[in-house]
Each structure stands twice: as C-alpha cells, then as structure tokens.
C-alpha cells in the first residue's frame, strides 16, 4: 500500500538516528573492556587479598579500606577486583563451551537430521530441569573447582543453543543457494562451513553473549550457596556468601561485589541486545498507533 512504500526509507533512516543501540553498544563494549583490564591487572598490582588480619575485621569503607573489610580483616576492594577474573573466565568459558557443543549438536541435528528426534527429546528433557537447579546438582556431585563449575553451568545452557542453531540451519537449508550447492554435489562439510556456518554466526554470537551473562549470574549463585567455589581465589558470590551472617552490620561485604556483578551482567546483556539489533534488522520497528 501507498503508506508502507512511502514511509519505508524515511522511517529506516530516522530509526538509525534514534536507536540507542549503537551508542549504548559502544559504551557497553567500553565497560566490558574496563572489566577485562581489571581482571588482568588487579591480581598483579593489588596487595595481599588472602592473608587474615583479625585486627581490622568488619571495618566500614574508609581511606585505607575503600570497600571495607570482611570478617577476617581482608579488604573487600582487593577481593572484589580480583574476583572479576573469576567471573569473566567462567562467563567466557561457559559461552564458548555451550556454543561449541550446542552449536555442533544443533548443526548435526539440523543439517544431517541424524538422530534428530532423539537429540531434540534429550534437549527437551534437559530443559525440563530448571537450569540453576541442574547446575547446582552437577556442581555438588562433580566436586569443587573451576572446571567443574564451568561444566556444571555449561550443560544446562546447551539445549537452548542446540534449538537455536537447529532452527537457523533448518531455515538456511531451504535457501536457494544452499539447495543449489547440494544439487551440484558439494560436499556436506563444505556446505556447512562455506554456506551455513557463516550465516549462523550472527545468531550464535548474540546467543553466546546472553549465555555469558547468565553464566556469570549462575556462577555467583553457586558460590553464594557455597557450592563449587574454592576459598583461595575470591569470587563475588563467595564474598557475598561470607557477608550473609554480617549483612545487618556490614552491608558493604554484599553491596560492593553485588554492584560489580550487577553492572557486568547488565552490560553484557545490553551488549547482546546491541549485537542483536545490528545482526537482526527485523526487530527494528515501531508502532503505528
């Protein structure tokens, strides 16, 4: 109709100008970069964050202890900053692991359709268990340690990744250029890597970003509940877990790591939204009412 064709380009242009996406995405990228920098630098430059100082226990924030101290007299500032690395590492590893495994299974199920029914029912089953619950159960059984935590968090994230990749592959598989490639006898591996994978990368990247954010939350939940964390390397969740009994008198033990955690997760989610807007233009639209 006249209306649609007439408004199209103008609207798109206005949208580009008005959308917060790009600016917000750049800010988000900047914040993530700061976190990465903190994670790398703080263990090297900050003082001792492990040894115990009974004389300075539960001190409120001051010039000496910027974020206050915990029940053992250790600085929350140091422990929070050093904890950054733990969260980022878990987030990145889980995102990578879930993307590789989930993406691989999804590709196979969607492209070769081998064992698709069984795979998808398995994924349905995995999704029927609330992910935090499954992660908790796995982490407790597999024992403490970073690797354990990463695996325990990654497993519940896999089904969503499989479903996403499978649906993308199923759609791409019907595209004329893929059908053409199949019809002239191109090897499946070549079709997968030449035609399908490059087109699925966008959706995978967006999903991986969301998985990263959710993994960081789940890790903090696990260490907050006291599952899977090791006492030596501080994690935000465990700093807060130590603060639980004291939070009425020493709220800073929970406040500061909580703020660091929330800002990081929020930033990564905003980054994911920005990526999605960039990679999926269908979502840019406005109401007419």
């Amino acid at each position: 109709m006249a209306l649609v064709s007439a408004t199209g380009p103008v609207d798109a242009e206005a949208t580009r100008r008005r959308l917060p996406g790009n600016a917000a995405t750049h800010v988000a990228l900047g914040i993530v970069a700061v976190y990465v920098l903190l994670a790398v630098v703080s263990p090297l430059v900050l003082g001792d964050y492990i040894s115990v100082h009974p004389a300075t226990r539960l001190k409120p924030p001051s010039a000496t202890f910027w974020f206050g101290t915990d029940q053992l007299g250790r600085g929350i500032f140091e422990r929070t900053l050093v904890g950054t690395g733990n969260s980022l590492l878990v987030g990145a590893c889980v995102a990578l692991l879930a993307t590789l495994i989930g993406g691989g299974i999804g590709l196979v199920a969607g492209y070769f359709r081998t064992g698709e029914w069984v795979i998808m029912r398995l994924m349905d089953g995995l999704m029927a268990v609330p992910s935090v619950l499954l992660a908790i159960a796995l982490a407790s059984l597999l024992g403490a340690g970073l690797t354990t935590v990463i695996i325990a968090i990654a497993v519940p994230e896999i089904p969503r990744m499989v479903r996403l990749v499978r649906s993308v592959v199923l759609a791409l598989r019907q595209q004329p250029y893929v059908l053409a490639a199949i019809s002239i006898g191109t090897r499946p591996a070549k079709i997968l890597f030449r035609h399908i994978l490059p087109n699925a990368v966008g959706a995978l990247t967006v999903q991986a970003t969301y998985v990263c954010a959710s993994a960081i939350i789940t890790e903090s939940i696990l260490s907050f509940l006291g599952i899977g964390s090791t006492p030596d390397s501080p994690s935000w969740g465990s700093i807060m877990a130590y603060g639980r009994p004291y939070f009425q008198v020493s709220p800073w033990m929970i406040l500061f790591p909580g703020v660091f955690l929330s800002v990081l997760v929020l930033t990564i989610n905003i980054l994911g939204d920005g990526l999605r807007d960039m990679l999926d233009p269908r979502l840019r639209r406005g109401a007419t009412l």
Partner: protein, 313 residues
C-alpha cells in the same frame, strides 16, 4: 479438548523419562564411590556401608534402577540420608511457602510487567519506552540475592516496615504470611518482570501494526480500549508462553531467594540437600521441580484458545 490434553500428556513422557534417568544416574556421573561421596570425608567405613545398603548400591545398576522405579510408582522417593525422613514427607512439609512465593511472584510480575510492556510498545522509541527496556534488562541482570539484600537493608533493617527474614505459615493468619512474603516476592518478581515486559512489548509492537487496530480506531474506540481489548487479547499467547518459560528461572530464583530470606521452602530444602550431599533428597527435588515445570507449560498450552479462537483442540 480431552484428546489434545491426552496427546499433550503423552508428549511429556519422553521428557519425564529423561528427567527420571538423569535423576537416577546423576550420582553415578560423579567420579569415585557414590556412597563415600554422600557420606562425606569424615564418615566411618560403617557409615559408608550403611548408605551403600540403604541406596542398594551393591546391586547391579539395572536392579537399582528397577527398585527405584518401583518405589517411585508407589510415590516413594526414598529416605533422606541426613534426617532419615521420607523424601515425600520432607517435600510436603516444605511445599506451602514455595507455593505461596511462586503465586505471589507470578501475580505481582504479571501485574507490573504487562502494563509496562504495553505502555512501552504504545510509546515506542520514546523515553518511556527506553526506560522500560532498561528496567527490563536490569530486572534479569541484577541477581536476585543482590536485590534481596538491598530490599532487606532498606525496608527491614533501616525502615523497620517489614520483617527481615522468615516465613509465617498460612495457619497463623494470612496477614502475617503476606507481610513475610512482600520483600522476597518483590526481589524474585523483578527477574520475571523483565522477561514478561520484554515479550509483551515486542508482541504488542507487532499487534499494534495490524489492520484490525486501525479498524478499531476507525470505529471510534479510544486508545485505552484499543490497547486493552483489541490489542492485548491478540498478544496473549506469546505472553503466557513466556510466563511458562520464565517459571524455570523462577524456580532457580526460589532456591536463592529462600536462602536470602530464610524461608523454609523447597528452595532452601534443595540448597540444604545439595550442600549435605543428601542424594535421595536431591533426586526428589529434581523430579518435583521438573514435574511442576512440565505441568505449568501444559497449562500454558491449554490457555491459548482463550486468546486465539483459531486454535482449537
């Protein structure tokens, strides 16, 4: 309708079968001797042996599975290794607070999220819209225990408006129950609000572009009527779907929320069971939550025809 419910129930069988097997094999996934794992490092060999006997760990795996399934068919989930009480009894005891928390959270979340999503879609690309989007993302970005402690600190510790922690059972009066639920409900609902508001906004954006919205305006219907009657009803299915999907996050959130607020519900029970490696109890909790989740999503499916008469069972 009945036929559809029957078919839909059948389709849950593979899912539930998988959950059963997962729950059963979970212990065997762990490296080492399961009995020793459950008993812990300080257990005597006799204690380890007692656990081995209780869980039939000496039998072949197939026999163990068979015994477990037979018991399950009699609603017997075994006994807690820690308290030696039947798992079903423990779960029944702890059911009320969690049920109340889940209901109040869902109600609050829907009441907040749907209007927010509708307003955001109606005022798309304005400051209001962006505000709602940021709030929604923040809702599921800030971990529930961070929000929980902030709420406790402000409203209970500083202002003394509400109890700090704990749960008052319904038997002691609804007022007390509601008071004890306010803060945990708000903390837990924010996550849910984010999810629902986002989907509501996206769906409403699509619906508001439809021709029948223009028809309603051409008939002389005012904005509120157009939004609430003509648009919202059509936006129903995706919204109830996300309520069902979000229920999984809600259960995860319950485990944390009940720990923060010291509520003796299923979430706390789960956390305790995991920390004590009370394996039969963990199994029971996994099954209970999975069944709840499957049931919720079945109910969600059955509500679709209420919104869209084209869907028929």
């Amino acid at each position: 309708m009945l036929r559809y419910v029957g078919l839909r129930l059948l389709s849950t069988i593979p899912v539930l079968a998988f959950v059963l097997l997962l729950a059963f094999f979970l212990l065997h996934l762990a490296p080492g001797d399961p009995a020793a794992l459950i008993a812990g490092d300080s257990a005597t060999p006799a204690q380890v042996e007692a656990i081995r006997a209780q869980l039939h760990l000496n039998e072949p795996l197939s026999t163990q599975l068979w015994i477990w399934l037979i018991d399950l068919a009699h609603f017997d989930l075994g006994r807690s290794v820690f308290s030696n009480l039947p798992v079903t009894q423990l779960i029944a005891q702890r059911f009320e607070p969690t049920l109340m928390l889940a209901i109040s959270t869902t109600i609050l979340a829907v009441l907040l999220a749907v209007p927010l999503g509708v307003i955001a879609a109606y005022r798309a690309r304005t400051g209001i819209d962006r505000g709602v989007i940021v709030l929604a993302v923040a809702g599921y970005s800030v971990p529930v225990f961070v929000i929980g402690y902030c709420l406790i600190f402000v409203f209970a510790v500083q202002l003394h408006w509400l109890p700090v922690q704990g749960y008052k059972p319904l038997a002691e009066g609804l007022g007390g129950t509601l008071r004890s639920l306010v803060l945990p409900t708000v903390a837990l609902a924010l996550l849910y609000v984010g999810l629902i508001a986002r989907v509501t906004r996206a769906t409403m954006l699509e619906v508001l572009d439809e021709d029948y919205i223009r028809t309603a305006r051409a008939k002389g219907a005012l904005t509120l009527r157009v939004l609430c009657i003509h648009a919202l009803k059509n936006a129903g299915p995706p919204i109830v779907t996300v309520i069902g999907i979000g229920f999984a996050s809600l259960i995860g959130g319950v485990v944390v929320t009940e720990t923060v607020f010291n509520i003796p519900g299923l979430g706390r029970l789960t956390a305790e069971a995991v920390l004590r490696r009370d394996y039969p109890l963990v199994q029971g909790m996994l099954l209970t939550f999975a069944v709840m989740l499957v049931a919720i999503n079945l109910v969600v499916d059955l509500t679709y025809p209420l919104f869209d008469p084209r869907i028929r069972y």
